[in-house]
Subunit: 399 residues, 2 copies
Amino acid sequence: MQIQISKRMSKPDFQGEFVDAMLKAATAPDLISFGGGLPNPISFPVEDIEAAVNKVLQENGVQALQYSSTAGYGPLRSFIAKRYARFGVTLSADDIIITNGSQQALDMLSAVLVDPGDEVLVERPSYLAALQTFHLYDPEVLTVGLTESGADCDELEELLKHHSPKFFYAIPNFQNPTGLTYSKEVRERVATLVASTNMLMVEDNPYGELRFRGEGGESFGRYLGEQCCMLGTFSKTVSPGMRIGWIACPNRALMEKLLGYKQVMDLHTNIFCQMVLAQYLQDNDLDAHMTKIKNLYQHQADVMMDCIARYMPEGVRYTKPEGGMFIWATMPDGLSAVEVQNEAVKRGVLVTAGDPFYEKDRGVATMRLNYSNCTDEKIEQGIQILAQVIRDLLQARQG
Amino acid sequence: MQIQISKRMSKPDFQGEFVDAMLKAATAPDLISFGGGLPNPISFPVEDIEAAVNKVLQENGVQALQYSSTAGYGPLRSFIAKRYARFGVTLSADDIIITNGSQQALDMLSAVLVDPGDEVLVERPSYLAALQTFHLYDPEVLTVGLTESGADCDELEELLKHHSPKFFYAIPNFQNPTGLTYSKEVRERVATLVASTNMLMVEDNPYGELRFRGEGGESFGRYLGEQCCMLGTFSKTVSPGMRIGWIACPNRALMEKLLGYKQVMDLHTNIFCQMVLAQYLQDNDLDAHMTKIKNLYQHQADVMMDCIARYMPEGVRYTKPEGGMFIWATMPDGLSAVEVQNEAVKRGVLVTAGDPFYEKDRGVATMRLNYSNCTDEKIEQGIQILAQVIRDLLQARQG
């Protein structure tokens, strides 16, 4: 018996070699890890969740355990819709579909929009797992570079003269992997460019609530209305383990297609966690909870930036995030980040080389550093080791 | 702005008109419903789940709220693997992937196995939502008829002489929609036929634990080993709202592909519910719980069968399930089940006409009756009304 795998799944995994290397590296014991993207466990409101779950089971136990609707739990959808006011967008519960984390939303949008050979547009670099999802649908992946203030608008304008992508997938706030954020001016110019096309703006905003410095963060939905699909998640605010994300979009025709597809995929997202989360959000002050997380991440980011400034050799550049979980570092003299990653893991520090976040570029000099899940001491120790690795590699090259 | 939907999602929904009609009918107030497939809420162990969730949050709260592994929670996978002993199969936790309900497993298998134009084989009739999933992948859907003792083996043997399906999707125990079960002889003959091919046996077994009469139910995994993929779910035993299903298969190469695909789809199934369920299963006797559910469903099935025998006009035939949630009724003189459904809903009774469970047949005389979610009184009242509808339609035809 010889089972024949589909062509779709017989291709090498997109970026599979990098993901395998990362996973393998992560199993080494006693690593100082700047490699992942996990929320700090201190941020999980375990006791408040326990209170919420008891209330749900005592008051609506049967509903929490029974089949439910594909779009998701009404009160949770209402909460999400109302909260968009702070990002400058007016939405109703009908504009929200609850998904199994925002990762599922990436698949839903790809399935509903992308035929093989269609163009899609992403930032350069972009979120690895989004690239992996898009690649399942065989698109032509176009990229637009990032500057310190967001997408390179001149490059975008030029690109749109010659191409017609189905969507532009962007992470405008504290981007994964770079930690960069779009300025208000860039948002407005990108919105104007998008509005002149038939492409959908897909705004992924997992970190938008994690702004610990500066201001801004208006959603593209404010500028683009029905032409913007906003993805969100509770993974970085309450719990990733519950897998509760969402798609927000006032475009009825699109939402109907997304809903039909999700129904065939898995009927609905688990209603038990949706109800527990809605109860938690009703009985607690999410803003107070977020303040705790933001203070923590701000402190960790500051410690890491201080250590980089203090220990790294001259020529190492790095982004200075105003929120989120990541710093993006660029090695001097085009030093390969994969080389740095491989040597660093031998010395007990895990980082993520930039390569898998690029659609095409390889041997890049950039790498992602996560600061949300480390103590001050580990951050200092890890950056010292990393600095020494870079120094050694630079010296080896000169030698 | 004109967003262009993918070709995949621009086709009319497979069976969409029937699903729309069913959903619309279900919104009518005060219906007696034999139309759905919901577990009886009496069967949900609300208090035991509450005890389990408190224990999980107090002992492992952070783990339950953090990101987790794609394959699923170890102790839950072990529980599932061990329980296959009762279906004659020896498995380990490594042979299990936890899914968002078994519906997600249908998509995972389709994605990993089916290229456009590939043949897949299903029972005639088969589970509507499985057909809908398969259709997303543009296969040629072949069908094999069902007899009172399972798949028609002669038809299957003949079909396999001329076709090479990628898989045979079957529900051998208390099938949805027919309630029919494969006899031991049919299982053995089907297994022998499948073993002579390169196709995968996909055994969907959502109702296998719900046997309230007779014996049997050995899994095809016993006969086919690596050539059998077994789908299961806690939706009919503990809770559908948690969306916890699984794929069980000792075929390593296949499982690796399924795991890679699931990771890109949604990273992992919600770990919170997985841990709560595992704790519930550790602290409670699932068999004792199942006895309660089976006694309930046996009683409800008996009431419905008695009422059909007592009230239905001559010539109405029906299956006599030994478990599960459904009876399959055939109207006399080729009366259209859609006509019966439409007239019945006007008189306050919801049934599901057989048509959407068939790949091609339309205007069929069969319909599905669900008994798991009704009181004795409602069952009697509903069957009386339905009998009258059938009588009236038969008379109108003669008149």
